[in-house]
């Protein structure tokens, strides 16, 4: 990193920030398109469960973590059970603890006033793209990450709201297979993170634990048990390197 701070230098870095932001938006376009059907389905399901239309973008903008929002909608009633939904939100989003930790060594050079607002829009996809980009280029690019994240946030809020408004018309989108888009997006992200079979053995441990947990326990426990057992496996398998 340059230690000079001349005006031409900061201008150049500003320009490259804008370019980096646009690169983030551009490279995340396929993800944004993948968001559309999921957002529409979530909005539609939410109004069917008793959300008013404006509460849907409120939740999706303030929380911005799709998995927990699907769980919240699944558990929603009028009036909703606040404690249950908050607990399940914590469970589903506990992965953010580890995601933030993985980001920390790459973002040490950033001041708190930049990183704490940036963390508000960290989601699975923008985090994965930001980290993959940092690995490829050797430096974490905050504007690139913000380009991916903010594009995703705006898309998510707008299209969940559209889903809420169109709810009664498109409520049966799941019958046409649109809910599978979620799985497809996740599998492509997994393919991108695949290095070798040896390296990804913990994934299979996660799958082998999460799937039966889902069949046995109610709620979102399968996410926690699956993720934790995969990480325990990663801890012990790491010794062989």
């Amino acid at each position: 990193m340059s230690t000079f701070n001349s005006s031409s230098d900061s201008l150049a870095s500003q320009r490259s920030s804008g370019a980096e932001f646009r690169r983030g938006i551009k490279e995340s376009l396929p993800v944004l398109i993948g968001f559309l059907p999921i957002a529409l389905v979530l909005g539609a399901q939410a109004t069917a469960k008793g959300f008013t239309a404006w509460q849907v973008p409120l939740m999706c903008g303030a929380n911005f973590a799709g998995g927990s929002e699907f769980v919240a909608v699944g558990l929603w009633a009028v009036p909703p059970d606040l404690v249950l939904i908050a607990a399940m939100t914590l469970l589903v989003n506990s992965r953010h603890l580890l995601m933030g930790a993985a980001l920390a060594p790459l973002a040490r050079h950033l001041p708190g006033r930049k990183i704490f607002p940036a963390l508000f829009v960290m989601c699975d996809e923008s985090w994965a793209m930001g980290l993959a980009d940092a690995r490829k280029r050797g430096l974490f690019s905050l504007p690139y990450y913000l380009g991916t994240s903010i594009g995703m946030w705006v898309t998510w809020v707008l299209f969940t709201y559209a889903g809420a408004k169109l709810g009664p018309l498109i409520g049966d989108l799941a019958a046409f297979g649109f809910d599978m888009a979620f799985t497809a997006v996740f599998l492509v992200l997994l393919r991108g993170a695949w290095t070798s079979f040896r390296a990804v053995r913990p994934w299979f441990v996660s799958l082998a634990v999460a799937a039966p947990t889902y069949l046995i326990l109610p709620g979102a426990w399968y996410v926690a048990t699956g993720a934790v057992s995969g990480l325990v496996a990663a801890f012990f398998l790491a010794e062989e390197r």
Binding site: D81, L187, L231
Partner: protein, 99 residues
Amino acid sequence: MSPDLLAILTIASMAVVTYCTRIGGFLLLRNRTLSPRTLAVLEAVPGCVLISVIAPRFVSDKPAELLALAITLLAAWRLPLLPTVIISVVATGLLRHFM
């Protein structure tokens, strides 16, 4: 308490809990030097979480769902994101309708 107010409070509690998860790990681990083993665990996080979230798909009791998942897996293995999503959604819709 009105249902509307309770809905807003529930959404607010979700937002607070979620933001705490976002900054929690970052704050706890930001100034530590991580061992290779810790790094190996952190590298495994995204994959373990993603596969766990979609794990219910792998144990569906409906043949159409499992076949749709197999097609999605094949597409995801070979193709970029958008074609994968399109193939997956179309195949799932058709299989649910005809099986």
